[in-house]
């Protein structure tokens, strides 16, 4: 097989996907009017497929903090953290995130992706065993591969399966690292963290939780699912991102282990890349303060999420999980998912199209993610768009017949 032969099937699949009208994986947003309103192809569209859970991307204080940092410290650091790229802002951001998470120390990375790569690869090595939830994000897989450790995948959200696998390895003597997420990005379901903590303790393993989608969403301080479940002290490493509820870009890991801060001397995605820009630091610091001082953002987020979930459920659509800020409608197949996604966009609502292999269990999904910045009227418009396009059939979820529908294909 030639170097590029593996791409031979791509043009055909891309063409099929394009038949619906818009390119779901290359939508261009011409203008961003607010955290929930964008312009696509000259049309106003409600954004229901971001990860802007607290709606902070247009928060005036966050913008001002970014603006000030930009003017004071310049456009970029032009260097890595271990060379010229550590400014006082990076130090204060690491202190702030550790304090916000109630942990001893934090490491900040240029993205959540790199945080997972960097921490997993710095933690485990050949001879160690990492057990990952089957539905873990791609960057967790990549971090595991980079570490050189033995990787074992266990059934999604199944402490029993994890326990059985660990049992079979007992006496083998390798270090065990368990990795799960808080809120899962595709189905919007949450991990049974208390049960995972029990299994971890039983087998003397370490527990690592990626709270990318749960930070700012769960817990009295918005620390995530571990806080809400009362198990923060039993989680060894928590990873998060600045790119979702904090409305910026960057990632982090926090831990109470005394050895953890020294990982910065071994973690390659920390050492060999430029540090995040001053403006980014400014916006993230301001956003952390928002999470701490404005719990009402979280309340609004949840009331919006429940309203959408209830509305879609009442419409007879099959949802993949109980209410959370990620509400995914399960579609019968990829073709219907693509056609319906186009029609919903033509109704003025952008949601995410998720198809295999990007989804667990080969499911095709229309995924909405809700923001505290959505108005009740917008939530109802999102619900209405789904109802108009999808027939209320809990088994087949087939698109409504053509009558009264906006066709997605240019005729």
């Amino acid at each position: 097989m030639g170097l590029l032969d593996k791409y031979s099937a791509f043009p055909e699949r891309h063409k099929t996907i394009l038949q619906g009208g818009h390119d779901p994986f290359n939508v261009t947003i011409d203008q961003v009017k607010s955290a929930t309103e964008v312009v696509i192809n000259g049309r106003d569209v409600i954004m229901a497929g971001s990860n802007n859970y607290l709606g902070l991307t247009f928060d005036p204080d966050c913008i001002e903090a970014g603006r000030q940092a930009l003017a004071t410290h310049g456009t970029g650091t032009t260097g890595s953290r271990i060379a010229n790229g550590t400014y006082s802002g990076h130090q204060s951001l690491e202190n702030n995130i550790a304090k916000m998470m109630g942990c001893a120390s934090a490491l900040v990375y240029p993205s959540g992706y790199q945080a997972n790569l960097g921490v997993i690869a710095a933690l485990a090595m050949k001879g160690d065993t990492i057990l990952i939830d089957a539905d873990c994000h791609a960057c967790i897989y990549d971090g595991c591969l980079m570490s050189g450790a033995t990787i074992v995948r266990f059934r999604h959200n199944s402490p029993e399966d994890l326990d059985r696998r660990l049992q079979n390895m007992d006496g083998e003597g390798s270090n065990k690292l368990i990795i799960v997420e808080g809120l899962y990005s595709m189905f919007g379901d949450i991990a049974p963290l208390k049960e995972f903590v029990e299994v971890k303790k039983k087998h003397g393993a370490f527990l690592y939780v990626d709270e990318a989608h749960s930070l700012g969403v769960f817990g009295d301080h918005g620390r995530g699912l571990a806080e809400q479940e009362g198990v923060s002290q039993d989680v060894d490493f928590i990873v998060g991102t600045f790119s979702k509820s904090l409305g910026s870009i960057g990632g982090f890991c926090v831990s109470n282990h005394a050895e953890f801060p020294y990982m910065k001397f071994t973690s390659r995605p920390y050492m060999f890349t430029a540090s995040i820009s001053p403006a980014t630091i400014g916006t993230v610091n301001a956003a952390i303060e928002k999470i701490e001082k404005h719990p009402e953002l979280r309340e609004k987020l949840w009331s919006n999420a429940k309203r959408l979930h209830e509305g879609l459920q009442a419409a007879g659509l099959k949802l993949s999980a109980p209410a959370s800020p990620i509400v995914s409608v399960e579609m019968s197949d990829e073709e219907h998912a693509i056609a319906s996604w186009n029609r919903i966009l033509n109704e003025g609502v952008y949601v995410n199209l998720a198809i295999p292999p990007g989804t667990p269990n080969s499911k095709s999904l229309l995924r909405s993610s809700i923001s505290a910045a959505h108005t009740t009227a917008q939530i109802d418009q999102i619900t209405a768009a789904f109802k108009k396009v999808l027939r209320p059939n809990p088994d087949s979820h087939i698109d409504a017949p053509q009558t009264g529908l906006v066709s997605a294909t240019p005729e």
């Binding site: 089957a134 897989y141 595991c144 591969l145 033995t150 990787i151 074992v152 995948r153 059934r155 059985r164 696998r165 079979n168 390895m169 295999p356 292999p357 989804t359 667990p360 269990n361 080969s362």
Partner: protein, 85 residues
């Protein structure tokens, strides 16, 4: 005494699990390349492996995946991990 499940039986059980992905109905042999000859994506292969793990009570590390190309490779891996008992 544990009874050994022969590689032949493991092969047949594996073929049963692969059936849904054999849309063109090709003849499955020990040499069939799972990823290229069947219509199965990278995540579905992992899910299939998990079903095999359930049947045999073993864990097939993902690190071995790079070396498992054919049905025969998979049967061999199950054998090596003590799964055919």
């Amino acid at each position: 005494m544990v009874t050994q499940e022969t590689d032949d039986l493991v092969f047949h059980k594996t073929c049963d699990l692969l059936k849904p992905y054999n849309k063109k109905n090709i003849a499955l042999t020990m040499d069939t390349d799972i990823a290229t000859e069947l219509e199965i994506d990278s995540v579905a292969i992992l899910d299939l492996i998990m079903e095999i793990e359930d049947i045999y009570g073993i864990s097939i590390p993902m690190n071995l995946m790079a070396d498992i190309r054919t049905i025969g490779n998979l049967v061999r891996a199950i054998h090596d991990l003590g799964g055919n008992k």
